[in-house]
């Protein structure tokens, strides 16, 4: 077992060294994986940890991307400020959405979150003057410290630290009484309530967290893709994020990274079969949910090799 400090040192060194060894394309892919992992981390919190099915993630991503882009384009406030600000408001929306769980769960919650995503997408398509309507809108350039970051290699310096930071926060929270409460809610809401846990508030906060993470991911993703197209933010995308969560392993933050890596890198290996990409993703989801619902992260080999032994709220099997 390598001491944690050594791993951190190696990671930091790798972070700074990578741009010298890797081509722009690869750096872009790394950024894409990071950003996707952030979005999926939101699902890990609300669905994997708290056990609440949510198909709203794509709506949060849309709101984060559009919201920050519009604020920057209209008022000139830089993206590095509008993205977190928007994320805060999206978190609020998530909190309100989470209040739904007072009355519904399971199928109806899935349905309601689907409807939410559909409504957000339609709202974006029909708000032409502000959002560019069905043809979408360009994303303002990302300016920070007087520089403009355009390529993957440049956004890399913002995307990766942000991702790592948020991942650390979430991981720490998972291993605290807050993570325990969510796990309790997932396993038995009745008992959790009897233990003094305000179940409704925790579920709403879990939704808020998924909204926040989705929006930050959405904002950064928008900068990477430089264009916002409303067709990319529908229920299909929510299922896509869910697929990544399932394949990677829904109950761990590491799973979000694993799944994102698989889904972002897979197209590289399917060069001639680009049109079958969606089918491959769907088959992966189907295969995993039937055969290995805990996802890739649950494979012992991967776990012991890559994750330092930390106190986990899960009992050993």
């Amino acid at each position: 077992m390598i001491p944690r400090l050594a791993i951190s040192a190696i990671a930091v060194a790798a972070f700074f060294a990578a741009p010298y060894f890797l081509a722009e394309y690869h750096l872009f892919q790394i950024c894409l994986i990071s950003v996707t992992a952030l979005v999926v981390l939101g699902l890990v919190v609300v669905t994997g940890l708290a056990g609440q099915i949510s198909l709203a993630q794509s709506a949060f991503v849309a709101l984060g991307g559009y919201g920050s882009a519009i604020l920057t384009a209209s008022w000139g406030v830089p993206l590095w400020a509008t993205i977190p600000a928007t994320a805060f408001f999206v978190a609020l929306a998530g909190f309100v959405l989470g209040q739904l769980t007072l009355r519904i769960s399971g199928h109806y919650l899935a349905l309601a979150t689907m409807a939410f995503t559909a409504i957000v997408q339609l709202a974006l398509i029909h708000s032409d003057p502000v959002t560019g309507g069905a043809s979408g809108m360009p994303v303002p350039p990302f300016r920070i410290f007087g520089r403009t970051l355009a390529s993957g290699g440049e956004l890399y310096y913002v995307v990766l630290p942000t991702t790592v930071f948020l991942f650390l926060l979430v991981r720490n929270l998972t291993h605290s009484r807050f993570g325990r409460a969510l796990a309790a809610i997932r396993q038995s809401e009745t008992a959790a309530e009897a233990m003094g846990i305000d179940v409704l508030r925790y579920k709403a906060v879990a939704f808020a967290a998924s909204g926040f993470l989705g929006a930050i991911g959405g904002g950064l993703l928008a900068s990477l893709s430089t264009y916002l197209d409303p067709a990319q933010y529908g229920i299909t995308q929510s299922v896509y994020f869910l697929a990544i969560a399932v394949v990677g392993g829904m109950s761990s933050s590491f799973g979000a990274v694993l799944g994102s890596a698989v889904f972002v890198l897979l197209p590289n290996f399917l060069q001639s079969f680009q049109s079958y990409l969606g089918l491959v993703f769907a088959l992966l989801l189907l295969g995993f949910i039937v055969l290995r619902p805990e996802g890739l992260a649950s494979l012992r080999l991967l776990r012991n090799a890559l994750v330092p032994a930390a106190k986990s709220p899960r009992a050993s099997r």
Partner: protein, 288 residues
């Protein structure tokens, strides 16, 4: 004017009702909520298309081929996915049904392209004036078929021993099997039936909506209709569908045509929150 709006809206309503019937059939028969049903309806139409365009069969043979293939599909869905997952968590089952739908949709997109295909009408698509109101025979077919299927399923569930066996199997797997009901056969039959129903629905609906991989999104509307009618009621599915069609048409005419869909989805959220048992459903008490 209002009368015209209402008559036209009944078409849309019948489409929703047809899909809602499939949802309710599966739920009533097996207890599963099949989120991928809308995509299965689309896939049914694609099967006909593939038989026609790729294999070169004439239309009616293609329909036959599609129906036979959908029987097979129903069996595969049940045997390969629903039965193995019968004891899995609710989350896993919801995701599995979503995944199934996505697989069917993406296959259609990959194999036949992302663009829309024209699909032949079964009855005439030209409007006929009856008493000053325009009526389209093709649309009437949809209404007629919906009612017909409703009638058949209603008789099945209420009047025959097979229907009772299905309800028993759905209600209490172990109990039903103890009294001699072969639960797995029952569920298989329901899934096959629903699969065939999906293909028929697809054939009727595709000409109206134009066939594309994303036609399956109509599933949410069908879902809304089923929820409106109280998810366990076949009659409710039809009434819910018609109601939704009328509400949508009224909203489209008097509020905004562009926002029509948004209004439907909002109706869904409101109904789920305020009256989850639907317009017709009864409240069930759960013992803690």
């Amino acid at each position: 004017m209002l009368a015209q709006v209402l008559v036209s809206s009944i078409t849309a309503g019948a489409v929703y009702a047809l899909i809602a019937l499939g949802f309710v059939l599966i739920h009533k028969g097996t207890g599963v909520v099949h989120f991928g049903y809308g995509d299965q309806v689309t896939f049914g139409a694609y099967l006909v298309l593939i038989a026609q365009v790729i294999v070169g069969l004439p239309f009616w043979l293609s329909v036959l081929a599609a129906v036979l293939l959908s029987v097979l599909l129903g069996g595969v869905i049940y045997g390969g996915f629903m039965w193995p997952l019968r004891n899995a968590s609710l989350l896993a089952r919801i995701i599995a049904s979503l995944a199934l739908g996505t697989v069917l949709r993406e296959f259609s997109r990959a194999y036949m392209g992302p663009n829309a295909w024209p699909f032949p009408f079964l009855l005439s698509p030209t409007a006929v004036s009856i008493g000053g109101i325009l009526v389209v025979p093709a649309n009437l077919a949809i209404v007629g078929v919906s009612l017909g299927i409703l009638g058949v399923l209603f008789l099945l569930f209420e009047k025959t021993i097979y229907g009772k066996a299905i309800m028993a199997a759905c209600d209490n797997r172990i109990g039903a099997s103890l009294v001699g009901v072969r639960v797995s056969s029952v569920f298989l039959a329901v899934w096959v039936l629903a699969s065939v129903l999906a293909t028929f629905a697809g054939i009727l609906v595709a000409p109206l909506l134009t066939l594309s991989p994303d036609m399956g999104l109509i599933g949410i509307k069908g879902f809304t209709a089923a929820v409106l009618g109280g998810f366990n009621s076949l009659l409710g599915a039809v009434i819910g569908g018609i109601t939704l069609g009328i509400l949508e048409a009224l909203a489209g005419t008097y509020i905004s045509s562009a926002l029509k869909d948004m209004i439907s989805y909002s109706i869904l959220i409101v109904v789920i929150l305020v009256r989850p048992q639907g317009l017709l459903g009864g409240l069930t008490i759960r013992k803690v």
